[in-house]
Amino acid sequence: MTATVTISKEWIPRIAAFCCNWCSYAGADLAGTSRIQYPSAVRIIRVNCTGRIDPEFVLNALDKGADGVLVSGCHPGDCHYTSGNLKMRARWTLIQMAIEQAGINPDRIRLQWASASEGQKFADGVRELTEKVKNLGPFRRGWQ
């Protein structure tokens, strides 16, 4: 008897994630130390604060071929730098407007708050964004 094995390689989206050092990067560390398993699609870029994130970083990532972008920071009121995350939240509205006007589905980007003690919340956020982006399929623009 011979068995037929079909291995189909699943499409893994490419998601750029900007995480603040103090809450969400540490939250992602906690997800790891707690061995919480989540989709491998994200590549985390560490910034000191979500307030450091220029809207251009998000738009540029999409332009360069990211299928999705995640921004994850401290809860409002809980910023290591007191208010950087609030600045990010204000900019997020601009980012959403910009990508909608460019005809990009807003489900490709996600802003979330996950503290250093919320490993599960961080992982859940990654999972949710990955699933949404998977449903939308690859995003082809720019250099591609």
Binding site: N48, K64, T82, G84, S117
Partner: protein
């Protein structure tokens, strides 16, 4: 401010034993990295943080004249300081070091997908190599340390830490949210190993604290706000009674907020009868010389203890950890009860009397004819109540017999859990918590008293379930950490601050309003006026750089180019070099 030097990058991929290499193909990661632009050398090694791993980095820096180093290992929140020191020892500036997180962010969270994990690792290393090429050396700066420590929590750990710090000649303020000092220990009767009264132990410590002239005690008070950084924290303490607040500047903080004893509300047998109580409730009765059955008000004749209630029960009643005090506390309480009760029985899963002098307490309980019976953890004892009388049935797995006991007092040795308000404390001091809910140390073996917030230490049961012996030991250690900061008087801080490029500044004031610290002002001596950063006040968040419409602000060590390089290296991998003329 581009450096004139051509980047010469070394890439060091760590196995972390089996932690990374068990999932990620580290050899392939290193081989791939060797072909990236500017990479002069790439290798993989069992433990990069070990002495031999550190030596390897120093040797290769010299051999290949490396000026940038990328280590792909654990989280930078763990070993960035280690590797920064290593590269500095080989004359590479600490800010020319870049760490890739292959453990917490890859191998540990994609354990069942080795191929996808390896691809992610390859991407992350490529991204960091691209960033490393753009890293610039920065000057190392120091700040002074305010010679004053804040201790949060006036239990046995907080008292010990505060007294220790004061005895070394430094100022200390002890804040306790309850009206009285003593914490959980003050609720106990007598302590193992020496049968000392808990109140005597606490009173001695409180007295020592009260006569210490540089020690300020603030009871019935809570810390409500913490700002600043290591060496210079500005804390606000509020008196619960008067609602008055006081501001203090301290150089270090010790969090000793302790634990609370778990009350298994709604989980039988607790709640089935007033005669079912926790060991903590029993201790309070015993402290007040009133060990009486709550239902009848009479002294109990048949007493039963059950161990490991809510401890060592992952996913069942909630807590995976061993609470580390209850076995010895329970056998001591049982031995003491033989003085007034006719029969005392301990129902246990395991008895772990591991500490100094604990086994003697265990033996003494046997000598006083306490009955020990081991139950089957998969078939817990069944408790029923008929005519107000308790009946407990279980199978003794050593004898293989079904047994029954009718206690008139049933004492549950319940778990130690984090206290109410732990969430607020964790947010206040930016502390992370482990799965059991207690505060995380910086490193469980290498740095068990410090936390990820520089200048904030933890001690006692705030870190994990433990008894008062271990708590005071930790407290003395945390006090030593705080005093070593005070004694040095200064501490190195990050040089990652904002810098304005004068020729690009359009005088728009956006950065002035964006800065949360008021660290940016306008230099009106220039025409037109130019934004200027007061570096000592800059905390390095980068909000100004992101807000500047003219891209006139460089965020050192986190420049637009460095961030963009990572994004582009991820999404637009450079052509593989080293094969032919490409």
């Amino acid at each position: 401010m581009a450096t004139e030097e051509v980047p010469r990058i070394g890439v060091f991929v760590c196995h972390c034993g089996h932690n990374i290499a068990g999932t990620v193909d580290v050899e392939r990661v290193a081989e791939t990295a060797a072909h990236y632009p500017n990479v002069e050398f790439a290798t993989h090694f069992m433990f990069m943080c070990s002495d031999s791993g550190q030596q390897l980095i120093r040797d290769k820096i010299e051999e290949f004249s490396l000026n940038k180093v990328v280590v792909a290992s654990c989280s930078p929140r763990m070993h960035e300081p280690t590797f920064r020191r290593v590269v500095e020892e080989a004359d590479v500036n600490r800010y020319c070091f870049e760490q890739v997180n292959l453990r917490e962010h890859v191998s540990w969270c994609h354990m069942r997908e080795p191929e996808a994990a390896t691809e992610k690792a390859i991407d992350l290393v490529r991204m960091s190599v691209a960033r490393a090429a753009l890293l610039e050396p920065l000057e190392v700066k120091t700040v002074s340390v305010e010679p004053h420590t804040l201790v949060v929590g006036g239990g046995v750990a907080g008292l010990r830490a505060a007294i220790d710090i004061e005895s070394r000649g430094f100022k200390v303020t002890l804040v306790e949210r309850e009206p009285k000092l003593g914490g959980n220990l003050a609720k106990l009767s007598t302590l193992y190993q020496d049968n000392e009264k808990a109140s005597d132990v606490i009173e001695r410590m409180v007295l020592a604290a009260r006569i210490s002239k540089n020690l300020t005690i603030m009871t019935d008070s809570e810390v409500v706000d913490v700002e600043g950084y290591i060496g210079n924290f500005d804390v606000t303490i509020k008196s619960k009674a008067t609602d008055k607040t006081e501001k203090l500047r301290v150089g270090a903080i010790i969090v000793a907020t302790g634990f609370q004893s778990w009350v298994p509300e709604g989980i039988p047998p607790y709640g089935m009868s007033p005669d079912v109580i926790t060991l903590a409730q029993f201790e309070e009765m015993k402290r007040d010389d009133k060990v009486l059955c709550p239902s009848s008000g009479k002294p109990p004749k048949k007493v039963m203890f059950i161990g490991c209630v809510g401890s060592r029960q992952p996913g069942v009643q909630g807590h995976e950890h061993c609470s580390r005090y209850c076995c010895t506390a329970m056998v001591k309480a049982a031995a003491d009860m033989t003085e007034i009760a006719d029969e005392v029985l301990i129902l246990y899963d395991d008895i772990r009397t591991f500490g100094k002098g604990h086994e003697e307490v265990h033996r003494s309980a046997h000598e006083k004819f306490v009955i020990f019976s081991k139950f089957d953890r998969t078939k817990p004892a069944k408790t029923t109540v008929a005519d107000d009388a308790l009946s407990v049935k279980w199978r003794d797995i050593l004898a293989g017999d079904d047994l029954e006991f009718h206690p008139d007092l049933l004492v549950l040795a319940t778990a130690m859990i984090p206290p109410d308000g732990v969430e607020e404390v964790s947010q206040l001091f930016s502390l992370t918590r482990s799965a059991d809910g207690f505060f995380n140390e910086e490193h469980i073996k290498l740095a068990p008293l410090t936390t990820h917030t520089a200048g904030v230490m933890i001690a006692g049961a705030a870190q994990s379930a433990k008894d008062s012996t271990d708590s005071t030991t930790q407290a003395s250690g945390a006090a030593a950490k705080a005093t070593s900061l005070m004694a040095r008087g200064e501490v190195e801080i990050e040089s990652t601050v904002a810098h304005v490029l004068e020729e690009l500044c359009s005088s728009c004031h956006t950065c002035v309003t964006a800065c949360p610290y008021g660290a940016i002002s306008m230099d009106t001596s220039k025409k037109p006026e130019i934004a200027v950063v007061t570096e000592a006040e800059c905390h390095g968040c980068g909000t100004c750089a992101a807000g500047c419409p003219s891209s006139a602000i460089i965020m050192r060590h986190s420049t637009d180019e460095q961030i963009t390089a990572m994004v582009e290296a991820f999404l637009m991998p450079p052509p593989v070099m080293g094969g032919g003329d490409s």
